[in-house]
Symmetry: C2
Subunit: 256 residues, 2 copies
């Protein structure tokens, strides 16, 4: 495959103060690039510095640079990767899988993320790069939070965790029968879902899940993919006593 001789693909990544990837959209592209076996070079950037790179025409990550081409927007990048690296494993095996991914994304942003966001928006602020914090506070309070402060929004979040867990029920049902959302092998729908949980793992100081959640079977296999892409030391637990940064003990024993 001719991509092996190419230069690595540069992926611009808005990082937290500890250097970890934040955005669920960047996480899905990190998985997409790894799934296709493409060498990647992460280029960290502060949220408030996106306007200072690449001629100032972009406002959001992910952005990739591949062989002189710049592509922005996770959907555009995913489609570019399948088109350009058609010999590598597909992100979407059929256009039906693409449409299903679109639907899944809309479901997630409508039914799951609002619950999580209202638990973690202050955690996100506290762990952002110092130069991003005031912008984050001001823009979030003005746009998504209807004038409420970050502190007001997260108040009582412990009591709202059951809403988060309940919102994930359709995901549990789909995964009760298939090893991956993509079927027998992961596809981009898995990367969208894993990206959601990795975003939560990057920032949360109150784990969203319970230890015995059936989602952990899929999450653990997902975090182990591609050399343990989701096993970053800087990630926080998704359930009390369940570290995200390493596989569960029985898996470690099997490997040992």
């Amino acid at each position: 495959m001719n991509q092996i001789s190419r230069r690595p693909i540069r992926l611009y990544d808005v990082t937290l103060e500890n250097g970890s990837t934040l955005s669920p959209f960047v996480w899905r592209i990190r998985y997409a690039l790894a799934h296709k076996g493409l060498e990647t070079e992460l280029e960290p950037v502060a949220f408030t510095q996106i306007r200072q790179i690449l001629g100032g025409q972009y406002e959001q990550v992910p952005i990739i640079e591949d062989n002189g081409q710049v592509i922005q927007d996770s959907w555009a990048i995913a489609q570019y990767l399948d088109r350009t690296y058609a010999d590598a494993p597909p992100l979407f095996r059929t256009y039906g899988e693409y449409t299903a991914a679109r639907f899944f994304d809309r479901w997630m942003f409508r039914d799951v993320i609002p619950h999580m966001y209202h638990c973690y928006v202050l955690d996100n602020y506290n762990q952002a790069r110092p130069e991003d914090r005031e912008y984050l506070r001001e823009s979030r309070q003005r746009s998504f939070l209807g004038g409420r402060t970050l502190e007001e929004v997260v108040k009582g979040r412990e009591k709202r965790l059951p809403l988060v867990r309940d919102s994930l029920q359709p995901l549990r049902v789909a995964l009760a029968e298939s090893p991956w959302l993509g079927g027998l092998r992961p596809n981009y729908v898995d990367f969208i879902g894993l990206g959601l949980f990795l975003w939560a793992a990057a920032i949360n100081t109150l784990p969203p899940l319970e230890k015995n959640d059936s989602l952990f079977d899929w999450l653990n296999r997902g975090f182990d993919l591609y050399g343990g892409l989701g096993r970053d030391e800087r990630l926080h637990p998704l359930a009390p006593g369940v570290p995200t940064s390493r596989p569960p003990e029985h898996e470690q024993r099997l490997t040992a």
Copy 2:
């Protein structure tokens, strides 16, 4: 294809008093059989008579009989059809599409159907076969409705229609970019979605949608499929002034 010489597949169908198919699960199998080009013989049955057919071992439709085999449960039937008639157009092109269909089904039953059900449960009762009515009232009030009467549940339903419409938003977003939920061609996810609306069209006396709903583009193409399978004279409008039983006027002009 060897299925052409076979006997028609018999599909047991719980019908309303006017003879129309009710169940969203039967609707999806009617579409599945038509999509695969399989000749079908509908066998109407009252809900309270299911126990009197096929040796009394079944409680729900759809049930098919194909060449001496009896298969119950819409998922089992869909998988049987793809396996047995593998040369005919697939319901699921990949296992990823199957998993996406499972997810879509759970989403629909969780986020959409409860809103519709609480608007239409009395309509369903009123249009059921006379021999099914008392069973329907008693079992529904006891199980799904927590002891409330059908009349209590539907009270004020006009004010709740915006909830129904809003719940469909992820479907509109997915269909803004793809002609079908299955991508460039319909797959079983489309049949699940069309089955939901045909169930609502079979019983509603208060249309759920507004006339300019963008979903009508997909609904009209879906109802026209396979010789107009969804263009049954007995179906009610899904929006005021939009008959389900015939294509919109501009389509009729094109055909004339």
